[in-house]
Symmetry: C2
Subunit: 263 residues, 2 copies
């Protein structure tokens, strides 16, 4: 239960994760603190990816780029090892996920560059504060994520479709969900789409490509936010020799608060 961890600080939570004692999705942990997506690429791809993020700021808002070869963050968290402090990782080889791990130290090398990208789990505490239920939390599931038909803006070798997360919201709370999230652009900000999933190329709302399906109650509106799993969709498309990512929903918990990410 997420509530078992409610008194832990971000650094305490990261240490628990580092020791392999928590390997679940991180939605609901450390309310008010930002969470981050991960993609690690070889240096030869770092410029193209950083440019890709610059051109796609809603899907890939960069929170920190680590110095080449470094596993340790300098800005968004202290005592934080990106090779150990995510609950679960994925290894991609030539665009294919070849394994999931709770620690990727064994794969580390000095030519790797880690990118931390804002995550919509960050603003869920603000939505809950505003009285909006996070259905995946209530159901004890991972958030549903979908590969859409929306093209990202290409940069160098990188291109591919945008991934979104979905939350069902009662019609009378839709405007509030927009205004609350729009204030936090560094963790994806406002939704990319509201309503009919087919408009953005989602074929079956009950079969997300990542995470778990959630119940959509009669009359509820499906709301979609750009998602930091987009780099994984791009990696699957572009097929670089090697990439490390987090497992969708299994995020890094940062020391910076959502409010710190406002200007």
């Amino acid at each position: 239960m997420i509530s078992d961890y409610k008194d832990l600080t971000p650094v305490q939570m990261r240490h628990l994760i580092r020791e392999g004692k928590f390997t679940e999705p991180t939605s609901g942990l450390c309310p008010g603190y930002a969470q981050a997506n991960l993609i690690i690429l070889r240096k030869e791809h770092a410029y193209d990816f950083l440019l890709f993020a610059q051109r796609n700021p809603k899907a890939c808002p960069v929170l920190e780029v680590l110095d080449t070869g470094s596993r340790f963050t300098k800005f968004v968290a202290k005592d934080c090892d990106i090779a150990k402090d995510f609950p679960k990782y994925r290894i991609y080889e030539k665009g294919v996920c070849t394994g999931e791990y709770t620690d990727v130290e064994q794969f580390w090398s000095d030519d790797l560059v880690g990118f931390l990208i804002g995550c919509s789990f960050s603003f869920e505490s603000e939505m809950i504060e505003a009285g909006i239920e996070m259905r995946h939390n209530t159901m004890g599931r991972n958030v549903p994520m979908y590969i859409t038909g929306i093209d990202t803006v290409p940069a160098g070798v990188f291109s591919g479709k945008m991934v979104v997360s979905m939350r069902p919201v009662p019609p009378q709370q839709v405007v509030k969900a927009v205004t609350v999230t729009a204030q936090l652009p560094k963790v994806h900000g406002s939704p990319i789409h509201i309503g009919d999933p087919s408009v953005i190329g989602i074929k079956d709302i009950n079969h997300p490509e990542f995470g778990d399906p959630v119940e959509i109650k009669e009359g509820e509106v499906t709301m979609f936010w750009p998602c930091g799993v987009t780099p994984q969709s791009v990696v699957m498309n572009v097929k670089p020799d090697f990439a490390i990512t987090h497992a969708p929903g299994h995020m890094l918990i940062l020391d910076v608060k959502n409010v710190d990410l406002k200007e």
Copy 2:
């Protein structure tokens, strides 16, 4: 007089500049449209500079990075040649400004990468709309810019002091000047400092390192915004073999409006 150009669209203004018929500072031109700073570096320095900009978003908010070797923008303006459409350029060799030109086509090569960075001239029309006088406009001068004692966050080979622009504002309009500009983070956003210039290491307010001094009336408060001339301060510090920048105050006028740069 700036008012002679008040009916021109951004593309008409750029064409006039391209033909060498306007070589002055661009403050006040095409109100409501964003303006951009320039730095052009060799590809070998592009990753470090893009990372520098990511780590210093208030001084270096990136509006567009052109594809390597390309002089033509794809996102912020159409029919726009960054080697000709700024009124004035500077060439830096090993950190020293070796010349000013109204056209840098002769220096172009396929290994150059152009970065367009937001400019505080963009939000001046919003400040004027809010009733705040832009003293440098009234006096027909370039805005005063200062190299401060504020360290930027280093990235790769790049480091150096932040440059700021200054506008004197009556005390009763200071809050309004903050709130109006804070809404436009892509063109520097809120001020970095309000009041005593010595707090941020400015020794003599009447001798700016770039641009012109302006009158500060009795009781007026000096307000300082991060400035896109910061890359020039960094280039002077880091001394790369070669760089092209705009001449301070002589900006590119974009097709995107300030309102387009809000989320």
